[in-house]
């Protein structure tokens, strides 16, 4: 248990409402762990416990071996946290925001200069040093927020949905920066609602209703898909969906994915039945390797079914 970030059987609720129900994970130094799940899955709560903003009901949270509840001050010294909303001061300039957090973290004057230059270089915010934070673009705001959380050279970085609401180009650049930070030996815990960002993590935890549905490397999680998958393309998807519903094939789940349908099934008989139902629509059926999202949807419906029973 020498990992930089450790959650061990964490339980945390708000009053009678449970938010996190038995979450365990660990993030070694130099890696990125992705917390993936929809709003309300408990991602933010778990992160706040790690930052010492909330106290766990049960279970342990440790950062660099320090308990997040009892050694909060020690944890805070080595931890950078970026809340979900843009949490800097829009009426202060880029430079003023950075200096404010350098002051709060007690960064020594000598180190401050070096650190400031480093951060400005990697975030490419130098030309905007005198600009008010409120007038930055979404991507630049996120980079400034990240810079502020890095000003004290933390060993652990916790980012709550840093790319939500950021344009695709800035998102890619942001992830490039995160990878660079991991390369420098930081441990990163990043939450995201975007399944496509899962592939950019070293490890992922699929979260739903306060629990982990699956965890491991993205490849391992994808490979853990317990059923078979067919992809339907080349037809009117609404018409195809209607036909499949009418055929009411037992054990076949149909999911719409943008420009294709995913048919989740268990045996060849179901696949054949689906092919018959779609005959004449021009639909092309092809076997498909499951992605993270397929795993998530499957696990989530199983978890919900369990709750319902």
């Amino acid at each position: 248990m020498n990992d930089a970030i450790v959650l061990d059987g964490l339980f945390k609720g708000y009053g009678a409402v449970p938010a996190v129900r038995g979450l365990s994970l660990s993030v070694p130094a130099g890696t990125i762990c992705g917390l993936i799940g929809p709003d309300g899955a408990g991602k933010t709560t778990a992160m706040r416990v790690l930052c010492g903003l909330l106290r766990a009901d049960r279970g342990a949270a440790r950062v660099l071996g320090h308990d997040c509840a009892t050694a909060a001050l020690e944890v805070k010294r080595h931890l950078g946290y970026m809340p979900q909303r843009f949490s800097l001061y829009p009426d202060l300039t880029v430079g003023e925001n950075l200096r404010f957090f350098a002051d709060l973290f007690d960064v020594p004057a000598a180190e401050r200069k070096r650190r400031d230059a480093e951060l400005m270089a990697f975030s490419r915010l130098e030309p905007f040093r005198g600009r008010r934070a409120g007038q930055l673009s979404g991507g630049m705001k996120q980079k400034l927020a990240l810079s502020c959380t890095l000003i004290h050279t933390p060993a652990v970085l916790i980012l709550d949905e840093p790319t939500t609401g950021v344009d695709p180009v800035s998102r890619r650049e942001f992830w490039r920066i995160l990878r660079e930070l991991a390369g420098n030996g930081l441990a990163l815990l990043v939450s995201t609602p975007y399944m496509d960002e899962a592939a950019l993590c070293d490890d992922i935890v699929l979260m739903h209703a306060g629990r982990a549905l699956a965890q491991g490397t993205p490849a391992a999680v994808a490979a853990s898909f317990p059923r078979r998958l067919l992809e339907v393309t080349g037809a009117d998807l609404i018409e195809a969906g209607r036909r499949l519903r009418e055929a009411s094939i037992v054990g076949l789940d149909v999911q719409r994915y943008g420009d294709c349908l995913h048919l989740v099934h268990d045996d060849q008989a179901q696949a054949d039945a689906a092919a018959r139902a779609l005959a004449g629509t021009g639909a092309v059926l092809a076997p498909l390797a499951a992605g993270i999202e397929d795993v998530f949807v499957e696990m989530m419906s199983r978890a919900d079914a369990e709750v319902a029973m």
């Binding site: 903003l53 843009f86 202060l92 002051d103 709060l104």
Partner: protein
């Protein structure tokens, strides 16, 4: 300490960058003193009064004549019977009526106590109070004149005056100390509660709390700039009061400053408590205005004397820090008294209780 300074410096930048709020914070006290000073200081002229003389004697006519002497009162109607009073009030023909009953002259001549009735239209309370006051003054003067004329020492009749405010006391002198209390409440309680609630709402507080800062440091850093702003506003009001309205300063400046500081602590405690208890910026603003500003304006004796309020309300008044602060301020400035053991004790207890509650509830919010 370094963190407190960083936070205070940042807060100061917020204040200075927000030009509109800054303008409000600085101009508001100036405008308030100017308005209150000028409006409340206005004297009454040409108050329309009706006269119902049922006595028809030299004495009664003399009393009626003396009404117009000061220029404050204009006799607009001469009534014949008591039934005409009410319709007159309803029409707005006059604001007050003086009724001299039959037998007035005989009573005066016999040296017996005579009764004179003063009726006032109470729909405009402020004017009514002044009207009653002026009429009583006139009647009393007449009573003294008759007494002097008959050689007797005692006045021929007495009016039991209902003292609404002392006409000798210039109202600006009364209002300026009240404005100090009001503005300190507004700046210190309302602005601090807004400042903290805003950080809570935008999520910046969350980020600040993940730094190795202590709750007490957060509070101190957030609050200090507003202490300065409050003190600046108080000084501004006192300066305008002194130079524009010649409000006297009979006590010591040191005592005044010390009591102001004590009151600032109370206001800050209230502001912190409100922001800690409020779920959002909007709620914090509403709560701050309702809980601090309105009672300070209405219940503290700033405009309406506490002693004239119904008993249950008086209890509420005495719970209000501003009530005691006003007693102290007026005492220091007008009466030249520098030490108020009773008020000091109450204010000190209130300051400690509010501050402890505020820091406590602030702590709880972090966890």
């Amino acid at each position: 300490m370094k963190r407190v300074r960083a936070l205070a410096a940042k807060e100061l930048l917020h204040i200075l960058r927000d030009r509109r709020s800054l303008a409000v914070a600085v101009l508001m006290p100036v405008v308030m003193v100017a308005l209150y000073g000028a409006v409340i200081d206005m004297e009454m002229h040409d108050l329309p009064v009706a006269v119902l003389d049922q006595d028809h004697s030299d004495n009664s006519r003399e009393l009626v004549r003396s009404l117009g002497a000061g220029g404050f009162i204009v006799e607009t109607a001469r009534l014949e019977q008591a039934a005409q009073v009410e319709p007159g009030f309803r029409r707005g023909a006059f604001m007050a009526a003086l009724v001299i009953p039959r037998g007035y002259s005989r009573s005066v001549a016999d040296g017996e106590p005579a009764t004179v009735q003063v009726l006032v239209d109470g729909s405009d309370a402020a004017t009514a109070a002044m009207a009653a006051n002026y009429l009583q003054a006139v009647v009393q003067r007449e009573a003294r004149r008759i007494a002097a004329g008959s050689g007797g020492g005692a006045p021929a009749f007495t009016v039991r005056p209902r003292v609404w405010f002392n006409p000798e006391l210039r109202s600006a002198h009364f209002v300026v100390p009240g404005l100090v209390a009001l503005v300190l409440m507004m700046i210190c309680a309302i602005l601090t509660s807004i400042a903290i609630a805003r950080e809570k709402e935008t999520g910046t507080l969350e980020q600040i709390l993940t730094t190795p800062i202590r709750p007490a440091e957060v509070i101190a850093g957030k609050v200090l700039p507003y202490v300065g702003l409050g003190a600046l506003d108080a000084a501004l009001i006192l300066a305008i009061g002194r130079f524009a309205f010649h409000v006297p300063m009979n006590g010591s400046w040191f005592a005044l400053a010390a009591y102001c500081l004590l009151f600032i602590v109370i206001a800050l405690g209230a502001g912190l408590l409100i922001s800690a208890k409020s779920p959002s910026l909007r709620v914090a603003m509403m709560a701050a205005v309702t809980v601090t500003m309105l009672p300070t304006m209405i219940l503290s004796g700033f405009m309406f004397p506490v002693s004239s309020m119904p008993a249950p309300l008086q209890v509420l008044c005495r719970l209000l820090p501003a009530t005691h602060f006003l007693v102290v301020l007026r005492g220091v400035m007008l009466r030249g008294v520098n030490w108020f053991p009773h008020e000091t004790a109450i204010l000190a207890v209130q300051a400690v209780v509010l501050l402890v509650l505020a820091i406590r509830s602030f702590r709880l919010r972090l966890e």
